[in-house]
């Protein structure tokens, strides 16, 4: 399984959100997709999910341009968007049934899968309550479950661990590793660099729509002579000194206190 992104460009009017992005992912790889806010991560993921048509460039899956038959391609993709809204008056279980039906899963299998997945995530006592009564973490669990219920080949995760408790974070990490070991393609976008460093075999760092680095984590650290991914990220992306910004912020707070 191979996913190739060639000269990808996404424009919103005059703004170039993604500019000439190129990379290739093989089955079994977990790619960390990093960048500051507005770097173009979510736009790339949306294009890879088949919901945002690129302005130019190609996305090839197993050698075929995905936009030639985007509907068939979508059946192989599981996407966890950042801050996605779920229908509030459905229960978690109903939502999984709903998404599963939209995905074409047969009724018997779907019901069994929905119940079991929600139980694994510790939602067995809450699965029949409406989603609007859920905590952020519970909603995230439903969202992740809905993205994986059809057992997709390509998994796109945009800040998937946000709001989850530490135990579920550990479980999720193991699930992601397990999916990769089964040959799935996983693209993992996040701001939490520690998790990316532990989980991903390779990272792509993007800023202002352009790829700044695309390397194996260890090799990247070696090349940038950095001890951690955080230092690599700082050296490539961060243009202002965070320590200096923090000190200015604290001074400002004290000024207010004096006044």
């Amino acid at each position: 399984m191979t996913l190739i992104v060639k000269n990808l460009e996404i424009r919103y009017g005059a703004l170039k959100a993604v500019n000439n992005v190129n990379f290739q992912v093989e089955g079994g790889e977990i790619i960390g997709y990093l960048g500051p806010n507005g770097a173009g991560k979510t736009s790339t993921l949306k294009a890879l999910a088949g919901i945002l048509k690129p302005t130019s460039g190609k996305i090839l899956f197993n050698g075929k341009e995905v936009w030639n038959d985007v509907y068939s391609y979508k059946t192989m993709v599981g996407y966890v968007p950042e801050d996605a809204a779920l229908y509030p008056y459905m229960s978690g279980y109903e939502y999984l049934l709903f998404v599963g039906r939209l995905r074409g899963i047969e009724e018997k299998t779907l019901k069994r899968k929905a119940e079991n997945i929600l139980s694994i995530f510790g939602l067995e006592n809450y699965m029949h309550l409406s989603i609007d009564s859920y905590s952020k973490g519970m909603k995230q669990k439903v969202l992740i479950s809905s993205a994986l219920i059809h057992n997709p080949d390509i998994i796109l995760l945009d800040e998937p661990l946000s709001g989850l408790d530490s135990f579920t974070v550990f479980t999720m990490r193991e699930i992601i590793k397990g999916l990769a070991s089964k040959g799935k393609i996983i693209i993992y976008a996040s701001h939490i660099l520690e998790v990316v460093e532990r989980l991903c075999s390779r990272v792509i760092i993007i800023n202002r729509g352009k790829i700044l680095a695309d390397e194996n984590v260890e090799k990247l650290k070696e090349l940038r002579r950095s001890a951690s991914l955080e230092e690599v990220f700082k050296s490539l992306v961060v243009e202002r000194d965070p320590a200096e910004l923090a000190s200015r912020f604290l001074t400002e707070l004290e000024k207010n206190e004096g006044a």
Binding site: A49, Y93, F98, G104, M127
Partner: protein, 557 residues
Amino acid sequence: MRALKILTSHFFNRFFQNETIPFKEAAVAKVVSLLSILAVLSGALAYWENLKYIVAPLLFPYVAGMKETSWKENFMFLSFSMIIMGLISLIEWDEIFVKKHDLSNLSLLPIKGITIFTSKALSLAGFVGLFTFSMIIFSSPIFGLGRAKAYGNSIGLFLKISFAHGVSVFASNLFVFLFIMCLSGLLILLMGERKAEKLSVYFQAVAIVLFLSFFGIFDKLYSEVSLSNVNKLPISLFPPMWFTGLYEELVGINGEAFYKLFFKGVVAIVFLMLIFIFEYFLLYQKQTRAISRKTIHTAPMMSKIESTLNGWFFTNPLQRAIFQFIKTVMGRSRKHRLVFSLYISVVAGIFSVKIARLLYSGSFHSVFLYQFIHLFSLAIVLGFRMVVDIPWFIRGNWVFKITENNEKQNYLKGIKKSFFVLYLFPGFLVLLTLYSLLWGFKLAFMESVYGLLSSLILLELAFTKYKKIPFSCLTVPGKMNLHKFWFFYVLGIYVYTFILGFIGKLASEKEIYFLLIYFLIWVLFVVIKRSSLKKNWELVYEESPEPVVMNLGLRDV
């Protein structure tokens, strides 16, 4: 005391900030303008009714002869105010009782049950008082002036009559409000809060139409009531008459004739108050018990019918998803239910008014009864077509985008099948039952099948070029230009239903005609099916106005 004040104000404000009346911004200004309109309307009605007493004495000195009938104006005014109060109460129907989620929040605070009850009762009284105040602010002085003129210009009489008018309007409004409150309480007690909430909108819509239909008998009432028959049936059973009794008792002019009616009014209010208190405490107990009990949430029981439907009627998972979505939105969104029920209730209102006259005259084979089947089918199809265009939760629609597939026909099939299962088929079963009582089963069945088949044609036409997922698309409003073309729409509906009804009546003479009609409808159905959307069309998630609509200003935005 502080808790009572805060809670009363909270419950009172909720009358104006809820799902039905979403006055979130500038709520006070909106409520004041609503009350002003009501005050002016009531004042205008009072002025129009009392004009003859105010102006006529100047022109016609023999106006004293009108003394004996002047209570009729108050009777008419009370009928008007009770209808208006009834409509307002019906709109606020869901906010009348304390809800379970109120109690689960309040139970965490150190607030006594009696404080909750008192604050609720005060907020309800305040609500009735507020609307009564706007109804009497102009009308009471006008009534005072009119009647004082008729009986000699005395300030004492003016004040007395104004007061009597104000009190009788308040009492009549309180009666209507209590009556509707008790109905709402009964529904919740019988069905439970969740089920009652789901169904209440249909009760509300039908009751609103019934209340409005009272306006249609105003003139008849006015001409039929007289001092000699106020205590006779059926006039004496008409509630506005009881409060006219109160008015007359307070004024003291025709007191004797109205005593029994006055007594009925007082008894009715006391009786309803007792029922309300009883219902309130019963509900309170039920809800507190439900809160303190640890609830284990289990899967809602899926009926056997639903499982069977999912098995063989909705043959594809995508159709099942659309069915689930439509069922969820219509079951859980009050706004959607309200819009849909308005279509049904208009038809129900027309039917109930018309059928009473037909039953009275014994004409069971009037063209109207044949026409009504098609009016019902048109209303139900149009109502559904309109309601699917109202978005539900736009932010959740991304799920349709990421799961979109190439089997587009299944989205449409899902919509049509869901409509058939949820509304069309059950609707025609109800109609078949009603008509069987009138015509006998055989003819009722044949006419119902005819109506059902023609509804399928309408359904096909309504969704021929439909490229959306129901409730998921932001639509451009005003495309139908109702304000310009309403006459043609009404005419079209009348002509359509009349022709089909007339054909139905003709067919009822020979059964073989029905077979011919069924065959012709089937042919038409196939033709329309063939002209409907084929494969390879794009789903629309956000509708943009067509240039011609924009350029010619043919829409309201």
